[in-house]
């Protein structure tokens, strides 16, 4: 594998076929990768089993997220009201509002009340899975779904990025690509901070991962910066397109269901 001919002076090529003395364990590897240490990426890329090294890193990051989420949920419980009491209070407040009373007393009021109750109940069934509400479902989400999605996400994004990089002229193998892309998930370790109630990481983790993914692909495929960027963005664009399509379908279905209700029928 050669460095790209159009690598710029400020973007020096990674030494090839070398295993620099550097981070040796996954935690140190994650820490080094977080700060764009080329040695960390080179070590995974050049190891006899880059996919295996990446898998260990991905599993460790998934475990950090899961444990942080579960602990955070426990501490959130200490500073949050009982969820059933919150559910009742929210419903009572809604039912006491002018807006609700106006619609409930109008034509089709009974149907409106039934629909409103159904939507409210549906929200409270879904909420524990998509919010930080302390609940057994939230705990299950952190301990099972978060690690599963984390590892599957790595495989999905890694495969798509590998395909995109090869299409764009990259020369790296599948194993090394997946291996170094596991390091790009290093900002997931910031989830440790979210144990503190009310502390939000926001978009930092996503942007940082994007930058590291660029750095990771560059270390394996030797593409010029433009193609390298396209390879990294393509996977995310595909996922965004899928999510947008789902959103449009969801909105269309919701509009189809809500249309008769809004029309008073």
């Amino acid at each position: 594998m050669e460095a790209a001919a159009d690598n710029l002076p400020g973007d020096p090529a990674v030494p090839q076929n070398s295993r620099p003395a550097g981070p040796t364990d996954p935690l140190r590897l994650i820490w080094a990768a977080l700060w764009f240490h080329e040695a960390a990426y080179a070590e995974v890329r050049d190891s006899p089993s880059p996919f295996g090294r990446g898998l260990v890193v991905a599993l460790l990051l998934a475990a950090i997220s899961a444990v942080s989420g579960a602990l955070g949920l426990g501490l959130d419980w200490l500073v949050s009201p009982d969820s059933q009491a919150a559910r009742r209070a929210g419903l009572e407040t809604m039912q006491a509002s002018e807006w609700y009373r106006g619609l409930a007393q109008g034509p089709g009021g009974r149907e409106f009340e039934q629909q409103a109750q159904a939507f409210y109940d549906l929200w409270w069934q879904v909420a524990p899975f998509i919010t930080n509400l302390p609940s057994p479902a939230g705990l299950a989400r952190y301990l099972c779904l978060t690690p599963a999605f984390s590892v599957l996400g790595w495989l999905f994004f890694g495969s798509l990025t590998f395909a995109a990089a090869r299409l764009l002229g990259g020369r790296g193998g599948f194993g090394p690509t997946l291996g170094v892309l596991a390091l790009a998930g290093a900002p997931q370790a910031l989830d440790l901070f979210t144990v503190w109630p009310g502390l939000e990481i926001g978009a930092l983790s996503g942007w940082w991962s994007l930058a590291l993914a660029y750095w990771a692909v560059r270390s394996v495929h030797g593409l010029g910066w433009g193609r390298n960027l396209m390879a990294v963005l393509l996977a995310r664009l595909v996922l965004s397109g899928l999510m947008l399509a789902l959103l449009v379908v969801g909105l269309a279905l919701a509009a189809a269901n809500l249309g008769p209700l809004a029309a008073g029928g």
Binding site: A89, G90, T93, W99, G202, L204, W207, A211
Partner: protein, 243 residues
């Protein structure tokens, strides 16, 4: 600690050495990131103190509602603020306040204290998020304009543009908040341009273009998105009227 302070001061004085040091690979990036953390925590001290005072004096839900409603009355003067929007906001405020007034396992003042500290500790992540996002987009623009910076070099150099936001610590002084924010933004923009020029080894004029490009692109994107939403709403309204 001394190095971090020196780096921050150097950035404020637009010294090339500071940007070179921030952009000298992983070690420089780590140090520059530390500057961002200190600045964000310093700038957030005012909000933290306000939160702690609120926790200590135990503000009642009624008082909180009155304060929010006073702010809502100001919003009502905005064009396009309809009765339906007001009703929805009042319902949301009432729901949140009602839930907030429910008992929690820990005593209320302690809960408020923990949440205030959490918000304060989250500020470095928010500031770092915007720094990362804008720097990455500016790097793409700089590269298109012939820049040569590597990712860590660009991030390390532009991190220092956050230093002026420490000024917002003084936002609690009456009538000074907006002026201080504007001054911090202007100073920060100048440092960002200087850092981009230094990291990319490019003239200032190109660095200004690289700094402005992400904002311009975002404005265009948002306008397109807004136009798409408006068109969709019009189509839906026409379809509903027709059906």
């Amino acid at each position: 600690m001394n190095d971090t302070w020196r780096l921050a001061l150097g950035a404020l004085q637009l010294k090339d050495e500071a940007f070179r040091e921030g952009g000298r690979g992983p070690a420089g990036l780590r140090q520059a990131a530390l500057v961002v953390v200190f600045v964000a925590l310093l700038a957030g001290l005012g909000t933290l103190v306000t939160g702690l005072v609120d926790a200590a004096r135990g503000q009642s839900p009624e008082q909180a509602r009155d304060e929010i409603m006073a702010n809502l009355e100001q919003l009502e003067t905005l064009p396009g603020f309809s009765g339906a929007v007001r009703e929805a906001l009042v319902l949301a405020v009432d729901s949140v306040l009602r839930v907030e007034s429910l008992p929690t396992p820990l005593p209320r003042p302690l809960v408020l204290l923990i949440r205030s500290v959490g918000l304060w500790l989250g500020r470095p992540f928010a500031l770092a998020g915007s720094w990362f996002a804008y720097s990455l987009m500016a790097l793409v623009a700089a590269r298109l304009l012939g820049g040569k910076a590597s990712l860590p070099a660009m991030l390390g150099a532009t991190a220092l543009s956050n230093v002026p936001y420490a000024l917002t610590l003084l936002s609690f002084i009456p009538f000074c908040g907006a002026a201080l924010s504007a001054a911090a933004w202007a100073w920060s923009s100048i440092i960002f341009v200087k850092a981009t020029a230094a990291a990319n080894d490019m003239p200032i004029a190109r660095a200004i273009a690289a700094w402005a490009a992400p904002a311009a692109a975002l404005v265009v994107l948002w306008s397109l998105l807004l136009a798409a939403v408006l068109v969709a709403l019009i189509v839906l309204a026409l379809a509903a009227a027709g059906g």
